[in-house]
């Protein structure tokens, strides 16, 4: 079963960390990723640049509209993601609870939806 673990935190809170604290958190994230890959729990993932750098686009009436910033202002912002390959939700929860920023923000776990040519599950 594939799940995506979306990592959210309040960017403003993370800015209050000292350089050393921030580096240590990043080291923890590197170690976490290595350990998950080693145990074949992780298919991929990436940390993201802050939402101030984000660009949002929409296609309306065939026109590409581009705006600066994230698609919505939220209290916590998407900071990274992990693509996990685990047995079930319990294992996903267990794995995601080891993601270091979970101590600061939230991790949203979503099962992937496999795209199909027909008979796609409706929302």
């Amino acid at each position: 079963m594939k799940y995506v673990a979306l990592v959210y935190y309040d960017e403003a809170v993370m800015q209050t960390l000292s350089q050393q604290q921030w580096d240590e958190l990043n080291q923890e994230c590197i170690a976490c990723g290595d350990s998950l890959r080693e145990r074949n729990y992780m298919l991929g993932g990436q940390a993201l640049q802050p939402t101030t750098i984000a660009t949002t686009l929409r296609v309306r009436s065939g026109q590409v509209e581009i705006t600066d910033g994230p698609f919505a202002e939220t209290k916590e912002q998407l900071a990274g993601f992990y693509l996990l390959d685990v047995k079930d939700l319990n294992e996903a929860i267990q794995v995601a609870s080891k993601i270091p920023p979970a101590r600061y923000g939230s991790i949203e776990i979503r099962p992937v939806r496999e795209l199909q040519a027909t008979g796609n599950q409706s929302y």
């Binding site: 079930d88 939700l89 319990n90 929860i93 776990i109 099962p111």
Partner: protein, 425 residues
């Protein structure tokens, strides 16, 4: 076979099946969920198995192990159905690979492991109370799937529409299926947390049945009965002091059921209840459970509340209560679960033990907190204490303010009668 014999046999099979459905239906259902991996499939299989049994058992007689027979038959029927519909190919392939080439009536291989089967109900409880489900969904699923109440019964007990409740149950099952919440016992490392989640569902169900002043009384009794039954079931599966504590707490509350409501349907406060109406059988069982859950000196949330309830249960009137001990339990409870409502309850015990002046100070402090400024019982208690020290005008003001804070009719009646009593004196 003559006609009369057939009739007798039909009746016997019908009675037997009704008894099995009542006593073992949920257990059979739980095992089918494990074997089929899907709530809906299992439910269909359960009904199919019982209807096949109704015709077959009349001809072949009642099998040796009827519950096992029903599980095998239900499972076989479900797989057969899936095969015919040519859907869920993967599931069919997986399930079929587990089917042995033998007579299904002798399909013992699946059912040999009695522990596995006994644990199926526990698996079902843990799945329905999975923390990834919304609390309301947990409650609805537990009552529907574990206790076997109908959606209509649950909706009526919780004063929601049937369609809302049905939707909640559907949403829960859909999440279990799509997010792959496994049908399994939690690993040892998570067991305590997961038990906590189950206990809070059971306590919610109980309180809805015990405290809610609306809804018809039959469905409410059903909720308290189911909550107690669930706790007993859980206790038979797992050794955990908080399960024992919760069971004790519910039994001790339950023991006062007949004394806590007057003829008008209004709540009678503990101090004013006719204690001869308390159910001594439940009290004795509750006290014994409290003793066992407090042995060892580690006290949990439910155990401490049960210990307080046990102190009340042992006293022949309010004055006779061991308030010193009650206060000790309250202090421990506040350490485990700090809450202004528990502090308010403790203040009442302080008033009984040390007098109203000491308690007034505590309540005045509590009233500094925003949550308590909206809580009618805080003002009601304040008024009671003010009345006891002779500050009647202030007591009246507090009661009038309490009246503005609750919309529940029985609560309003109590407050109004207190106001009247205060004005008369």
């Amino acid at each position: 076979m003559n006609k009369e014999n057939t009739l007798v046999r039909t009746e016997a099979v019908k009675n037997k099946l009704a008894a099995i459905y009542r006593d073992e239906g949920r257990r059979i259902y739980a095992t089918l969920i494990r074997l089929l991996g899907d709530f809906e499939l299992a439910e269909e299989a359960l009904h199919d198995a019982f209807s096949i049994a109704m015709t077959k058992w009349q001809v072949e007689g009642i099998p040796n192990k009827p519950a096992n027979w029903l599980v095998s038959t239900g499972r076989f029927k479900a797989i057969d159905q899936l095969r015919r519909q040519h859907r869920h190919r993967e599931i069919v392939a997986q399930l079929a690979s587990e089917l042995p080439d033998q007579d299904l009536a002798n399909d013992e291989f699946l059912l040999a492991d009695e522990q596995l089967i006994a644990d199926d109900q526990l698996r079902l409880i843990f799945t329905c109370c999975h923390p990834a489900l919304d609390t309301k969904v947990q409650v609805a699923l537990t009552l529907r799937e574990v206790c076997g109440l109908t959606t209509e019964q649950i909706a009526s007990a919780f004063l929601t529409s049937v369609s809302t409740m049905a939707q909640r149950i559907v949403r829960g099952k859909q999440k279990i299926r799509t997010a792959h919440i496994p049908f399994q016992l939690p690993p040892q490392a998570q067991l305590e947390e997961r038990i906590d989640a189950v206990l809070s569902v059971i306590y919610l169900v109980y309180n809805e049945g015990y405290s809610s002043s609306a809804g018809d009384s039959v469905t409410r009794t059903e909720l308290t009965t189911e909550a107690i039954r669930l706790a007993r079931q859980l206790q038979s599966f797992l050794a955990d002091k908080e399960i024992t504590g919760l069971l004790a707490l519910m039994l001790l509350n339950e023991s006062r059921r007949n004394a806590r409501i007057n003829k008008q349907g209004d709540i009678i406060l503990l101090a004013e209840q006719d204690r001869s109406l308390w159910n001594q059988t439940l009290i004795q069982e509750g006290i014994a459970l409290v003793k066992s859950s407090t042995a060892g000196g580690e006290y949990g949330f439910y155990t401490l509340q049960a210990a307080i309830a046990a102190e009340h249960a042992q006293a022949c009137n309010a004055n006779d209560t061991n308030w010193q001990q009650v206060l000790t339990w309250y202090s421990l409870l506040l350490q485990v679960a700090p809450s202004p409502v528990i502090e308010l309850n403790r203040a009442v015990a302080v008033a009984m033990h040390h007098g109203p002046e000491a308690a007034l100070l505590l309540v005045e402090q509590l009233l500094q907190q925003k949550v308590m400024q909206k809580y009618h019982l805080c003002f009601a208690t304040y008024a009671e204490l003010l009345g006891q020290v002779g500050r009647k005008d202030e007591a009246r003001t507090a009661l009038k303010h309490a009246l503005t804070l609750t919309k529940q009719a029985p609560e309003q009646r109590i407050l109004k009668s207190k106001l009247a009593a205060l004005s008369a004196s």
